[in-house]
């Protein structure tokens, strides 16, 4: 299949970017990233600069890929990261527009590569259970209801890719933050510091320059791991009750 690609090229963080047009020969079996590999091989053979894009596991779990395909983070398939998207979902002759995740808290490094250090800093602010190595009791000492463990897992499945931010017109990180708050808060081990956690993470999120959540729910629609916006409702409850009962002002 023959495809036309319109790809965002930007030399460096401060350079001005623009779309460049390329054509590429692909097969339906290829993954989207393998199609870009073919393009890059071609560019390198012409001694041109290849398109910089980030990727690693190519199994949909590391959360490294960070591109918007035809206006959608990770492209058209629901519940699928870019690396798991295959060309069989495109047609011969298609034109595909590829650009980086866009958000002021995710500055572009080069072409399709962005920095998401802000997510790390949000986790550092409180996205953990405060326990040192060796302090744990027996794993079976706290029975956890099967359903509770499953729902904590659902929230914990977040891969930290940032598609939720890229999908949101406000570039809000509420889905990411709420997933971690819900994962840890739903478990008895994590409930102890749930309020402090919610406050600290939201505070950091605000400092990073992410936007406000206005319940558009595009984040859920584009999340490759199906993280639910119900987590946001839970975060709001947690945050409000923690703010009411604490000395910190909201």
């Amino acid at each position: 299949m023959k495809l036309t690609l319109k790809i965002w090229r930007q030399k460096s963080a401060n350079a001005k970017g623009k779309f460049e047009t390329y054509t590429v020969e692909a097969t339906p079996h290829m993954s989207f990233l393998e199609m870009l590999d073919v393009l890059n091989e071609d560019l390198i053979s012409k001694k041109e600069e290849p398109v910089a894009f980030e990727h690693d596991c190519r199994e949909g779990i590391c959360g490294t890929c960070s591109m918007v395909i035809n206006g959608e983070p990770h492209g058209p398939m629901q519940g699928t990261t870019t690396c798991q998207l295959h060309m069989r979902h495109f047609k011969d002759g298609d034109t595909i527009v590829i650009e980086p995740f866009r958000a002021s808290a995710f500055p572009v490094i080069k072409d399709l590569v962005v920095t998401r250090d802000s997510f790390d800093r949000i986790i550092q602010a409180g996205g953990y259970i405060s326990i040192n190595t060796g302090q744990a009791q027996d794993g079976n000492a706290i029975p956890i209801e099967k359903e509770t463990a499953a729902s904590a897992f659902d929230a914990a499945a977040c891969i930290g890719c940032g598609a939720c931010v890229a999908a949101c017109p406000n570039a809000s990180a509420m889905l990411f933050v709420s997933a971690k708050v819900a994962h840890l808060g739903r478990l008895p081990q994590g409930e102890v510091e749930a309020k402090r956690r919610a406050q600290a993470m939201v505070k950091q999120m605000d400092e990073e320059g992410f936007g406000m959540c206005s319940n558009i729910t595009a984040c859920e629609a584009e999340c490759p791991k199906g993280i639910s916006v119900e987590n946001i409702a839970k975060l709001n409850r947690e945050y409000l009750s923690s703010a009411l009962g604490s000395e910190t002002t909201v």
């Binding site: 393998e34 190519r58 891969i159």
Partner: protein
Amino acid sequence: MPFQSNTPPGPLAEKWTRYRGTMNLVAPNNKRRIEVIVVGTGLAGAAAAATLGELGYKVKAFTFHDSPRRAHSIAAQGGINAAKNYQNDGDSVYRLFYDTIKGGDYRSREANVHRLAEVSRNIIDQAVAQGVPFAREYGGLLANRSFGGVQVSRTFYARGQTGQQLLLGAYQSLSRQISKGSVKMYNRHEMLDVVIQDGKARGIIARNLLTGELERHAAHCVVLASGGYGNVFYLSTNAMNSNGTAAWRAVRRGAYMANPCFTQIHPTCIPQSGEYQSKLTLMSESLRNDGRVWVPKKQEDAQAIREGRKTGNDIPEADRDYYLERRYPAFGNLVPRDVASRAAKVACDEGLGVAPTGLAVFLDFESAIMRYGQAEANTKGISNPSDAKIKELGEKVVEEKYGNLFEMYEKITGENPYQTPMKIYPAVHYTMGGLWVDYNLETNIPGLFATGEANFSDHGANRLGASALMQGLADGYFVLPYTIGQFLSQEIRTPKIDPNSPEFEQTEKDVENRLNQLMNIKGNQSVESFHRRLGKIMWEYCGMSRNADGLKKARKMIQELREEFYKDVFIPGDAKDYNPELEKAHRVADFFELGELMVVDALDRQESCGGHFREEYQTEEGEALRDDENYAYVSAWEYTGWDEDPKLHKEELVFENVELKTRSYK
């Protein structure tokens, strides 16, 4: 240079406890001034960095990823072993130890493996306390499943994303230490050399991948938790950026590389579909709990399937060969990985492969779906359910267990595995070999430690499923943080290491020269094309089966390819800039040397054991034929120079507790 295992004395089961109780400690006031560098933030690295930070050391952690959470541990699917005996099925520390030694085909160190089995229990407790959402039973207790090579159920799991959840647990603990300031995190920094001062590892040269600048980082000691080197083969289940550079650079500075030829070929991966393919995807071993492996009995059926005239469903039961169940009745589909992989190769070599390439076998869930469906119908009190109803109920159970894997399979292949059997084929997955370390996880260079997949220590010639996560976390949480004290307790008078010393200056210059050399080749071929060619040589001659002629040929081919690379590779961009092609080129350059050493090692080991199958050494039934008299040693290779033969050091393996037997899964 010191080269002894430093295994403590005493009875096997008491060695670790006694040793830990008598080890030298570093007082809190000294820990505050002692600096430790940890390279890599996967399970082994993140766990070590977090724990060392908690203990009060000043830690600097490095990853080439944009975040520590991206390390390839994240992709481990199936589970983590622990000798908890929660299932009351006869498991014990000794049994986990024994299974691991046997599974490794008697090529690992007894004391290390026993320690691993002991601390396995603490790992589960630690992970639960961190909030890892392991699977639970209705009673609220932890659930288990079985993995290959064992007859008990000791694998803990979080759906098919156990590695992700364990890594996030370690990442979160690491993040907590970063916020406290006890760990300083360097994202997007790749270690390109280790600095040796007065014979001790005192720091690293790292390249800031965003700017291309080289940086000197000094510390009292260095821990390498940089993972395995499976990407030598180009196509593997490793992440695209996984590489052997940190470990190989240590070898170039004098560290020994142990058992480099011990590679794990995982039996259940999605088969390759084309030349453009960049990596292979694993289908978790847990699937072999319920999936049955088969090929058609008749070659004409196999051919019809390959040509698309028939599907697996068209082959009647009587014409299927469930070859693992037939050949290994005691373990059936759950034989260890090396055995399952070779059996698949044998079937395909006989012309029974079921993919257009001829390289695939079936993994079939039909009977599991019907079995679970019937059980569900019974539980729900549905009398005389139709086959369709049973299938529907059974599919739900299978979905709950393996849903994400089935989904992944369908995304990649476009086929629905609930309806037609999966097609699978072996692929490179893990490297048992790695930096040689003693009982303290210290290499032969004092102050240089290696943990997780980067070391060689626990898996012998074959790793059992769900043991990689166990080893990474055992090393990181419960072993290294103690054993490192043996070295550091002698360093409390050592002042802060000066990164402006001549050794740092020289090492930085060496790295700079190497990068400039690569940039200045300005040839015509891409890095990727060289890597692909190297991978083909390795897979063909040093893959699932090896022989002396092939290995000799491979060594020559690798040397020639390496020469061509240094004449004709083309790297766009600049060294002092963000340049992914340069990163790749440096890694591939190191893969040439590492690949050649793997071939040399495979040639030296004139026996078959675990993942190392030499065609010349097999039983009449085609099973691996070990030679304990001559090869019960760890091969520790010393680098001696460009174009020089490496020097072999042997660590004889002493078995005081297990009897060396022919591994049988029949």
